[in-house]
Subunit: 259 residues, 2 copies
């Protein structure tokens, strides 16, 4: 069914990459075919899923963004350790893309054609984005059908939401009229603090049932797993972190409209 | 003595802004005169110190970066609630700067002249940077004498260090020959986890006594304070978070060479 979902939040360190890895892996374990796209020059997704060594030069998303001849996504997709899960990787050359894209035609729409080609072969395509609202993230918003917003329950992340939703509206108005909100995911939750609870209530008041019932707790296994190049479900499937992302995957599958 | 220090780490959410606010406030409480510069379009520093409302249009760091006529920093400095602490603020217009700077002359050196003018009036100038190695951060690296690297003790942050130090070396080789490392600060430390301890040991092995003895613990007061527009020392001076940044300020003052 080829749902293209950007995982976005310009605030740093709110769990975008951790969500990309673990939600994608959980859906793949649920027998869906899933493609991950790393759009961050820091390539945490590529490294957290154990594929830094596997990346060949000229075989990353950078080529797809900057080349004028269309690229077949199969030329740059990599298999992961999870059956049914593939990755279009990034490496540090993507840093140059933010500057190079400035001078290009249709500079916010360079990723979309690549993923339109891949769409038919996957149930879900997730795009991991950098902590900014620059040209790379704009490409992810133009390429996507919906955006999933991970949000750690603290003040700066809450403050950034207004800017993110206003950018979504501008993209919808000018470049991608069908862009919608997939959902808001509360991450790194520490239920013992009033700050976390206060921010969570504020977010639910504002976004209603777009906020997932599943809340990802703070769990050190989620921070350890990428050091081993594994999603949490392969690293420690019984951890609260792994279980939370499996529950999120179930919640997303349950929300799918009957087709 | 006008020491210009960039607080930098391209990894998101490692405590750059929290360190900028609380270290600057602690040094000001120690009777030093301190200037904070917000170089992040997300303007968390400006908001976390309670000055979002006080920012007038055309009175931010954006004007200093993009104008061709030199600006006097006193035209854009704001007083804060801490005696001896001022701020050059940012607002969302700074998002445009990353694109506009691409086409400008000396595009990495637009901030430096402004701070050279301010230097004589302050003991310390701290620049808070966005989570990227783009043109805004490059301006901070060219304007600074040293960089202070906050580092949360987790895998992705550790992985990013190599890219950051290599960028420092390139800036030193091409644009700012005296750029040096001020220190590495371990942040959001959770001493109960082996991951944190393992990463901390790795960092100390690599950076030796550039790593501060002071380690900032994870403490919810540090996350609550910005929601009240206050540094932690005004919000809850007895909290472990406030005390840690006061200890860091003392450590930095002790390290100063006799003058
Ligand atoms: N639920 C969690 N519990 C514990 N640690 C977590 C959790 N989620 C993420 N982390 C860790 O917190 C840090 C930030 O998460 P992550 O890198 O996924 O955020 P991000 O939004 O992708 O950051 P960036 O903006 O830099 O891309 C990482 O070290 C990650 O391993
Ligand atoms: N020691 C700490 N204990 C608890 N929370 C902290 C601590 N330091 C920072 N925080 C909180 O963690 C989040 C990330 O910190 P902060 O925004 O300072 O990082 P940053 O590196 O400036 O992020 P960005 O890359 O987005 O600019 C914020 O919500 C902040 O309030
Ligand atoms: Mg990330
Ligand atoms: Mg910040």
């Amino acid at each position: 069914m080829g749902r293209i979902i950007s995982i976005a939040n310009q605030k740093g360190g709110v769990g975008k990459t951790t969500t990309a890895i673990n939600l994608a892996a959980s859906l793949a374990m649920g027998e869906r075919s899933v493609l991950l796209v790393d759009l961050d020059p820091q390539s945490n997704l590529t490294s957290g899923i154990g594929l830094t060594e596997a990346v060949a030069s000229k075989r990353t998303v950078y080529e797809a963004l900057t080349s004028d001849t269309p690229l077949d996504p199969r030329e740059i997709e990599l298999d992961t350790q999870v059956t049914g899960l593939r990755l279009i990787p990034a490496d540090r050359h993507l840093t140059g893309a933010e500057v190079e894209l400035v001078g290009m035609l249709a500079r916010e729409s360079r990723l979309r054609p690549l993923l339109q080609q891949a769409k038919s072969r996957y149930d879900y395509i997730f795009i991991d984005t950098p902590p900014s609202l620059g040209l790379l993230t704009l490409n992810a918003l133009v390429a996507a059908e919906t955006i999933l917003i991970p949000l750690n329950c603290e003040y700066f992340a809450l403050e950034g939401l207004a800017e993110l939703t206003s950018t979504m509206q501008r993209v919808r108005a000018t470049l991608n009229p069908t862009l919608d909100l997939e959902g808001v995911l509360l991450t790194m939750a520490d239920t013992r603090t009033r700050l976390g609870q206060g921010v969570a209530e504020e977010v639910r008041r504002h976004f209603g049932d777009k906020v997932y019932d599943t809340v990802i707790p703070r769990n050190v296994r989620l921070a350890e797993a990428p050091g081993h190049g594994l999603p949490a479900i392969l690293y420690d499937v019984r951890s609260r972190g792994a279980e939370a992302y499996l529950a999120l995957a179930r919640e997303i599958l349950d929300r799918e409209a009957p087709r």
